[in-house]
Assembly symmetry: C2
Amino acid sequence: MLFGMIDGKRLTELQLIARIQGSRRSRNAVLRVGIGDDCAVLRVPAGHEMIVTTDFSLEGRHFRRDWHSAQSVGHRCLARGLSDIAAMGGRPVVAFLSLALPKNFEVAWFDGFMEGFNALAERFGVELAGGDTAEAPGAEILADVMVVGAVPGGKALLRSGAKVGDSLYVTGSLGGAAVQLAALAAGAACPMVAESGQPQAFPQPRVEAGEALRGIATSCMDLSDGLSTDLRHLCEASGVGADTWAAALPIAPGATLEQALHGGEDYELLFTAGGEVPGWIAGVEVTRIGTVVAGSAVRIDGRELEVGGWEHFRG
Amino acid sequence: MLFGMIDGKRLTELQLIARIQGSRRSRNAVLRVGIGDDCAVLRVPAGHEMIVTTDFSLEGRHFRRDWHSAQSVGHRCLARGLSDIAAMGGRPVVAFLSLALPKNFEVAWFDGFMEGFNALAERFGVELAGGDTAEAPGAEILADVMVVGAVPGGKALLRSGAKVGDSLYVTGSLGGAAVQLAALAAGAACPMVAESGQPQAFPQPRVEAGEALRGIATSCMDLSDGLSTDLRHLCEASGVGADTWAAALPIAPGATLEQALHGGEDYELLFTAGGEVPGWIAGVEVTRIGTVVAGSAVRIDGRELEVGGWEHFRG
């Protein structure tokens, strides 16, 4: 299939795949057969289970080309999945990238996208193991990224393990992504390389912290839709309620309480634990924000915590 | 996130996920944690490797709502991945469905889509283990389906194992999908349930035949882009050439030689073998169509077999 991509010239699907393959750098022991056959073949480490997550990143819904650099889009596509792996206490091993590009697309944008994607993959030793390419039916770039990870058998951190009396914690700070999103929407430049202090453009999945939480956390999930939405999901999965305190929330610099509660895409970990929890885990600060209680009510300072989570970009 | 789906009423993302979950029927031993957590957790059978494939099904590229019934679209989305698993000699176990639907979408279409998807999944004991949902940025329906399968360790059928002197075989017949595609384009009605004799609307992945070919085939792939394109891929992966004969091709009823050579989406298996090969495997006829030769030339009746494969629907 021909791609209407340019630089003056057209790029065939095979050339595009070769370009994706050429940008591969990581190597790991799980991937036995990668790009180029009908399937990837994965050898699961002894005593481990595989964990799998898949996330769309659609232009206009999850990113905008006028707000995000190509590198940021590539980074964020993969970060969504890595954060899900982290939330299970797993180690990411391979990723699959399905990418549909509109006709007459800029090769430079694609190269920037792969740069951002690969830099993050390399940091976690994740190998690109396959995927699919197509010409997009409309004008929007469409990506779907799957990440496969490994976790010791029976040790995955689930949403359903919270117990009445557990304490409730979050890693890092909340609302920073919402602050940066507002800035990008107002015209702030988006960096082309991952830098700290860019929580929306270059979120840092808490992979090391997630692994360290195995044996500590009774339940865990990542904060992609905002605390008010995600805490309710965790409570529903565990059949419990929660009491939280506004004064305890680790609000990101410049963020409001509203942004900390309802801003999405912070990609921090929300977890519960019964015993002692260190103040820092794998280099990330951990803050106690509440208690798991009987019932199903989710409260902040005694009032119901209304759901007001992330709805991506409104059409 | 709210979906602009109708029936008069709007459907939230959670309601849509509930509807997807509710339509799940199969159960298998591999899936330990399914829809509803950050990741699915898979327990790999002892002594097995996992095989993974992912395929886009984009409206306007891979299907058209005015040509294909909703049930056919759901069936075909999953059939693409099952056929890749078959080509590796594996057994499919779980699938992940990422589905983006345009604003104000018909719930009835979605239900028909899931009906087609689930009927095929059930036939092979495949469980829907997760995925993602989103509102599509444009007017087109966007699906990306991942299928995970299992294969005994080291036994996966690769494209790279063909040896000079091997014979070349295909299952079933070729060109039937191209014939039906032409009929659908000309206004023929598309059935709503899987029936035999509907190779484009309801292709039958050769899963049982693929499993039976372990220990027989030296290399294998599925015919998704057309024989002329795919045979070249197999030869390139194996570092060999091929001589084929037009008179030997199992041309589907009503198909031309051109359609058999270049029509895509037949989803038959193309394989090579050195020893004896039965005329029928797992209920499917097997036809010898040529010989693996030294060099890199791919020929039919002594002339070069020009690539003229499937380019999906031209924009």
